[in-house]
Symmetry: C2
């Protein structure tokens, strides 16, 4: 069985994802409305969610899917998160930022400031990005392993800068006029391959010591980084067995870096569709699937994972051909592997594959509050998860369903918290405070 | 006489500046407290200030002044501004961001998002920065004219990205499933000397079209940039004659770029100290001056403007020696010129210079609500200002004094607004909407 408390994080896409925006009850313009996000953050906080997570990309893919939904248009999470920090009191706010197209000094500073102003509720989803080179002085996206090499060093600089000041550096003695103790300041002086950063950071140490670091890399290099520095590990396993294997492998890999099992939480993503009855849930799901444009979706996913052929050109009920023997993509290795494996293992028809993939590769849970709670409970009991990253489309009614129906069911079982355990995100998650390595 | 409405902007430093933190009534820890800033923003909004402005630096100067006050430790304005946007309804929020140590795609996106979530209240103080190279892979700060060359192109990329989408690009037709009209998208494809950026921006066009651009450069290159792209011009003139000359020069320079006089507002900075009587105001001022540490201040300003000798080593009542003949500094050319000119013109003692410079070179206005209103009124009438950038230390009582006493006096004279004129910052300032150049 998994140890520590059962964690619930929420994943909210840039704006209503998939076909959700086409539903009659979906408001227009959610991508220009702070109120939309405030509603979500406050509702999830009422449901005692530990955290709210915003993914991010740095480009607009000029493909067929662009016209079909708000996939690539979204606010910068580091602008949205502070606004939501001022609109909530307890929920953690995890914003994605790229190590490939940012400077570590800027990133260290922004998260430290977010941690301050939220009272210790900041998290950083550290990504190497799925694209964007063409917007940052490059012909192409930086190559996969170079991205991770840079990310490793980037993290070292950022976390070193977070330790620029002892917690008690700022004595602020009015009588003598001494604002800070100069001996409680560490000049990082990082001289590395990718970065030369002197420091110190121009923000004091923040309430959590370090903001919580989330990581979702799943390639060899990605898993290594996650094991070394990730505190929340987002993943996308489909069966309890796969989940347990990943869980054990990841905690063991972290242990090899000298980290305790309680220093990282493994959160598989699940997409819930909640109904009073299974039939009602299934009807809700079908309604959304019918509004999806299979052709646009299948064509862009074919490209995304470098399938080598275009799924959208195949008849809907034909069995999907086998993918190429070897994995070769510069963007999304783990998603490619997931799709290739799925095709090899299940030999699905195009329609079946379509249905599986429309949640972005995450497990879709269609059911009643009881059946969904059963499922999450079983994964947790089996040691396949420390909790879950609940993937929402952004539709308010679906979030309401989960908070109003599934959360109480989880609480009734004594599985999920009725109150926040502490003040900071770290305390709420049961992650240890990050002490300063220099003081 | 100046045209258009009388503008009041507020300048709030990273945290309590100068010696304000040493006053008995100053709370500790303002540099870690969102409530501190929320109080200020809401008070200024109650006083109908047009905007609230946050300056920024990207390094910690390891000098004597560091111990003496919170000069270089501050949150990133682009993290603070969204939190304040969620905490206010009318006031404009102007955040500083560097063109030297950022990427234009990131900057364009962050301000567009801030403009969205604030309902059109975002401004960008475009600076080339006073330092920071050592935190961004460099031995030294980028050279002055190179910074401005980069800034010119940076602005072109950012403003081009802001025009990525027609205002009506996002049709969101639920029936057909068409989210956007692909013909209403402009791919920038910028290929320049410093930047190659394809676009489009992954944020839709924001309420103001473009966030308002503020600029305070005062070197030859700085003034050129301000004349071409600045909409709020921060400056630091000391006499009405200087103010008028700068005003006319700047509006003429803008006209040479094809811009109308109403397309930019010139706002000299003033530091007010308000009392019921002049004596009370003077006493407030003296109290703060006494708490300053002259040695630390004089030593760091000597370095800052490359004076060539150390003011802190001279007797306090000695006349300051003449500065070097030629200006040579890579950081702050206009401030250097201001200090050198002041020394040459007024031949002050060290003490007199100290008193003049402790407001960072801005004019200090010690007086009653009436005398301060008289002064501001006279500048406005004389065509030396479109309004003012009121420099506060961050001390709440000083902001209260201004809002509760000076603002009503300005309103009584019919000079200053009793209500906001519109919804967006641009509307409130009387600046024209920025139409999309591509649609
Ligand atoms: C729940 C979840 C959220 C993710 N969010 C982002 C994101 O916001 N931005 C991004 O570029 N990648 C995101 N990713 C992708 C991963 O960070 C990573 O880039 C991807 O798994 C490819 O990494 P790999 O090459 O190590 O497999 C996410 C992945 C998962 C499972
Ligand atoms: C009111 C005011 C605010 C300023 N704020 C900033 C700031 O936040 N960050 C910064 O680097 N420079 C700031 N400056 C400095 C100018 O942007 C500019 O860098 C400086 O005047 C030197 O430019 P120059 O070399 O063109 O003279 C400010 C100047 C004034 C007058």
């Amino acid at each position: 069985m998994s140890q520590g408390q059962f964690v619930l994080g929420a994943f909210i896409p840039g704006t209503l994802s998939g076909s959700a925006w086409r539903l009659p009850e979906a408001p227009l313009d959610t991508f220009r409305s702070l109120e939309h996000y405030q509603y979500i953050a406050r509702k999830l906080e009422a449901g005692r969610f530990h955290s709210l997570f915003f993914n991010d990309t740095l480009d607009v893919k000029l493909d067929l899917a662009l016209q079909r939904g708000p996939n690539s248009v979204r606010w910068d999470p580091l602008i949205l998160a502070p606004a939501l920090a001022a609109s909530t009191r307890h929920i953690g706010l995890i914003a994605t930022a790229s190590t490939t197209y940012n400077e570590p000094y800027n990133v260290a500073r922004k998260y430290a400031a977010l941690d301050h102003l939220s009272g210790g509720r900041a998290g950083w989803n550290l990504v190497t990005s799925l694209g964007g080179g063409e917007n940052f002085n490059r012909q192409e996206h930086v190559e996969h392993d170079d991205r991770y090499a840079r990310a490793e060093e980037f993290y070292d600089v950022v976390s070193g800068l977070w330790d620029s000041w002892a917690d008690d550096a700022f004595i602020q003695d009015k009588a003598s006029g001494t604002w800070l103790d100069i001996d409680k300041l560490h000049v990082l002086d990082h001289q590395g391959e990718h970065f030369q950063v002197r420091g110190p950071l121009n923000v004091s140490r923040s309430p959590q010591g370090h903001p919580v670091v989330a990581q979702a890399g799943a390639s060899v290099a990605g898993k290594r980084l996650a094991a070394r520095v990730g505190e929340l590990i987002f993943t996308a396993q489909h069966t309890i067995e796969q989940g347990r294997a990943f869980y054990q492998e990841t905690k063991a890999a972290a242990a090899a870096f000298g980290r305790g099992a309680n220093e990282l939480k493994i959160l598989p993503g699940v997409s819930p569709v909640v109904g009073k009855t299974l039939a009602e849930a299934q009807a809700k799901y079908d309604r959304q699937q019918e509004l999806l444009e299979p052709k646009a979706f299948l064509s862009s996913i074919s490209k995304f994972v470098s399938l080598g052929y275009d799924l959208s050109e195949l008849p809907f009920d034909e069995v999907v051909p086998l993918p190429p023997e070897h994995f070769t993509t510069n963007t999304h290795q783990s998603r490619q592997k997931l799709v290739f494996d799925l095709i090899r293992r299940e030999r699905p028809t195009v329609r079946q594959l379509f249905n599986q993939l429309t949640s972005g590769g995450h497990r879709i849970l269609i059911g009643t509050p009881e059946s969904i709670a059963d499922d999450l409970h079983a994964w947790y009991e089996a040691g396949a998860a420390d909790g879950f990253n609940i993937m929402f489309s952004g539709l308010h009614s679906a979030i309401d369903d989960f908070v109003d129906c599934v959360v109480p069911e989880l609480q009734r079982r004594g599985l999920f918290q009725r109150e926040y355990a502490g003040t900071t995100l770290r305390e709420n998650l049961g992650l240890p405070y990050r002490t300063n390595r220099f003081f």
